[in-house]
Symmetry: C2
Subunit: 386 residues, 2 copies
Amino acid sequence: MAEKDVKKKTSSGAPGGGRREVRPTKQQPSRQVSIKDIARLARVSHPTVSRALQNSPLVNPATAAKIRKIAEAAGYRPSAVARGLVTRRTRTVGLVVTTVADPFASAVACGIEQAANDHGYAVFLANSNADAEHERKVVQALAERRVDGIIVTSSRVGSDYLPMLAQLNVPMVLVNDQYPGEFVHSVMIANEEGSRAATEYLIGMGHRRVAYVGDRSGYQTETERLEGYKRALAKAGIEFDAKLAVHGDGRPEGAAEAMEALLQLAEPPTAVCCYNDMTALGAMRAIRARGLRVPEDLSVTGFDDLFFAEYLEPPLTTVRQPMRRMGEMAMENLLKLMSGEDSVAQVKVGAELIVRKSTGRVGMKPGPQMRGTGGTQGLGAGRRNG
Amino acid sequence: MAEKDVKKKTSSGAPGGGRREVRPTKQQPSRQVSIKDIARLARVSHPTVSRALQNSPLVNPATAAKIRKIAEAAGYRPSAVARGLVTRRTRTVGLVVTTVADPFASAVACGIEQAANDHGYAVFLANSNADAEHERKVVQALAERRVDGIIVTSSRVGSDYLPMLAQLNVPMVLVNDQYPGEFVHSVMIANEEGSRAATEYLIGMGHRRVAYVGDRSGYQTETERLEGYKRALAKAGIEFDAKLAVHGDGRPEGAAEAMEALLQLAEPPTAVCCYNDMTALGAMRAIRARGLRVPEDLSVTGFDDLFFAEYLEPPLTTVRQPMRRMGEMAMENLLKLMSGEDSVAQVKVGAELIVRKSTGRVGMKPGPQMRGTGGTQGLGAGRRNG
DNA sequence: TTGTAGGCGTTATCAT
DNA sequence: ATGATAACGCCTACAA
């Protein structure tokens, strides 16, 4: 059959060269050079070109070399789109974060991107804006793009995905799921253990009035960290005082407001366990705004160990989350799921208390303090359901 | 506080109930429901389904409704892959950043994602690791995925892309290009003007020994900011002292080292203009490590106004870059390019000096200082080549 | 208003 | 070792 293509083209070899004249209206993006162009130039069939470019063993090394040379010269780039259509695998994953501007999310994203790239996967990035409805929408959009898998961090949907996923038929892994209850595949930090360790450390420093500045209530992470705080109090025989547990919004602004309320209490706290480092940032500002010092007047702990924690003044005592690593783990799990293995369902990552200088003994006098033990205890690490 | 418990918890959760039985070997991803399936169910032809789903006016409203209902019920999701193949447009853009974990990059990325999403575009995220070679590679990979356009932040390749782009035939916009010389389409901050404003502010506060802690030399941003610093000195009749201009690495660690060197000078500076906020973070730590105070002993300025700048102690005087907005602008420009318009080639965004409390008069005495003017002068804004 | 007939750029399955 | 041919799921003529 005589190459039925070659239509009205004023044939000139590779389409890169002679610009075909298109109607000025609704311009169709110009054709890229395809496998067929190479075939024509090399005087072989397209399948042969395809095979040659894939280093298939069943093609004559000589012709293969020729083909590769021609393809190279013509500036040929295979189309992942066309390939995806026929193989039904796009080697693409979707990553949903609340917002990339969030340092926690971007650290996790970095780990994911790395692992994905190492395995030849490209990643679609989408913001959920911490909104369940929008999150659902972007997941749908990712499914339409036929991603091979999806990772969602700080999901507001969580196990509510189950029905949707049954239809979409795409594997999904959640990182720090915020929806109450458990999702099938997830990577979570040991929230309760971490928060508890921080609180116990404060109590160990002699503090009895330890406050807690949380996120908005209802999210899983918040619930668990609050629980850890309560457990620590209970263990030390300190009665939980609801006035000392306030809610911010997980960001400095809201935290500052919440902290101010604590400082206006008749009997203010001497230490405060913050939901996360961003919260600690706001809390510390509110404390300084009242002319109080950290840690002399008030000890503060955070959670996450974001990059700036060690550079604050004073450097922040906090509970470290291995964020990059968690991203990698999520991606590794997703890779397994995508290749058909049913991998570890839920991974719980151990948190680590990092003692710096934002915490001190209750009633401590101003002046240089000793550096703490620098805990490296794995808190609550473990995995389930292998 | 040691609690290593909760380790290997025995399984209990719900690891996906009744999954479909797939052939263990090389399972082909199962077919998704397609337009043809819907056609069969609705007893019409596929094109009719296609038209109905696109709300084409030339399809009977009744049948259209029926088709939509059936599609809905069948859980039909159009394949962006197939659509991209035929339309030759994927409604996808590539975004290359040095690393998403960098707060500057992630802020820009956030603006881009937002704008892209608003226009129905999905964005592929890729890290360049600040390496020219790797950056080229990921751009090639994006081209293979047939993205409609590419945005690169802090490119190490810059105008060197020109030959490659001629082949790839994909529009590209650069944000804060780091490669010497100009690229065709870019969004840049007014580096020189910003840095100059910061330095002039310091000089205005009476400082004569003003140091500069830069990035690694050779990058465009670094060159321009250093130039701005020099210009300010020159204007004030202060001779440039090479010993006072040191190089860090754009990150806190390297900056701290560079700062230490400055502090060991026989005649140390009384103020330091930092390349960016991350650099300032490191510089301030080095300063405190020597027992010196900011701003009483040493004034410090940054560049970027990252989210944490206002929460530092003292809050950081810095030059603001409207990072999100710059991302949006880059995306808007790319949208124009993708739709065929030849838009504004180079956009220069004005920088804004934000005076906070890390700067003060030379030789100031300890104690509360007045808040500065809070400059809102647009510095060097402009655009060229409309 | 609807159906028929390609074709987008690959890979896959047959032949030869 | 290579070539026909047929998908993949969609869109866009053009015909009915």
